[in-house]
Amino acid sequence: MYNPIGMLRIDLASSVPVYEQIANGLRADLVSGRFSPGAKLPTVRTLAIDLGVHHNTVAEAYRQLASEGWLELKRHHGAIVRERHRPRAGADAMEQFAHPLRELVARALGEGLSPNALAREMTKSARRLERGVL
């Protein structure tokens, strides 16, 4: 879960695994440019204590982001933000997101949101993240 005020927020009752929530929240900050290349993220232990979760959960989130090219993990130095150039989206890139997006849209429509309102919100969020406005 992402809290636009600038804090990382998770919900232990959510069906989304905690490590994924942490990774999603951090990724949003990284995409928006909140952390510049070279910046240090909180250590695994510090973030785990602050969130009240096991340190392996935070470590898994950091590993996921490292595999996507966002972070460099150095033992005893923590996680450092890498300079990452936006890759060119391939033909099948949208396919990767189409399925989870479809599920999210279905949930939103199921809760009564209109397609237009949903589309507006998604466009707004994408533009804000592009501009680095959280």
């Binding site: 809290n3 927020r9 998770i10 919900d11 909180p42 204590i49 602050d50 009240g52």
Partner: protein, 249 residues
């Protein structure tokens, strides 16, 4: 016959204990009441005030009973019963606190599943860093080295504790590794250092971010600094310390 100074000291400690426990329920965050997380205004509600009134009434009663038993015990068995008396009062106070807590528990707030963390992290550096933290240990090692060099000048048995008022000695130490080379002091220093580090790095914050988080980190820093000052004063504690031995040598 019990000396007046001992009587006044005992009475003072007993009264201080009771006063502390009287105010303890109010000396916490507004959402904490007898170690239970409650709605912020609960302490001032009629229900909260009723629980506090019950607690204070029981506290006075239990402490009075404990003290009566304590005084009777001292009159009958002598000053040696003093630690037992304090222990009785302490146990009685905790029982009263526990009973109040049980009354508050039905009003506890359900735990939240939302967790937050400020990614900026805040300043968690232990005040003074490693250099300042090692000072008390260096002092201790310096004293130990000085005493070791002049080891033959230390008597086989020397006084380390005096009675109330500093009159007659009633505690001695021998020329052993522990008493001369301050191993217990070193242990206490190590424990305090770990506590200081733990306060800064191993404690989950109540507030995730914002000014409350900064305020919380500042408070933890203050506590850490006080503990550091305590560490620096330990080598100068006249009981079992290096200073008295260095002076003696």
């Amino acid at each position: 016959m019990i000396k007046p100074v001992i009587t006044v000291t005992i009475a003072g400690v007993a009264i201080l204990h009771a006063v502390l426990f009287w105010f303890v329920p109010r000396l916490t965050r507004h959402d904490l009441f007898f170690a239970v997380t409650v709605a912020p205004g609960f302490r001032d509600d009629p229900e909260g005030e009723s629980i506090l009134r019950h607690y204070r009434t029981e506290l006075v009663l239990f402490c009075a009973l404990a003290l009566a038993a304590f005084v009777a015990g001292v009159s009958w068995l002598g000053v040696g019963i003093v630690p037992g008396g304090f222990l009785t009062q302490l146990v009685a106070s905790f029982i009263v606190f526990y009973r109040a807590r049980q009354r508050v528990l039905p009003h506890a707030l359900p735990p939240t599943t939302i967790r937050e963390a400020d990614l900026d992290g805040g300043n968690r550096i232990v005040p003074g860093g490693g250099v300042v933290a090692s000072g008390p240990f260096i002092l201790l090692v310096a004293c130990a080295a000085y005493v070791w060099i002049h080891g033959e000048e230390i008597p086989a048995r020397f006084t380390m504790q005096w009675g109330a008022g500093g009159s007659e000695p009633h505690g001695w130490a021998g020329h052993t590794l522990a008493s001369v080379y301050f191993l217990s002091t070193a242990g206490i220093l190590a424990a305090l250092t770990l506590i200081r580090y733990g306060i800064r790095h191993w404690v989950r914050s109540v507030h995730a971010g914002g000014p409350e988080f900064a305020s919380e980190l500042k408070f933890r820093g203050t506590v850490s600094t006080i503990l550091l000052a305590t560490e620096y004063s330990l080598p100068y504690n006249p009981r079992g310390s290096c200073w008295s031995l260095v002076v003696m040598v």
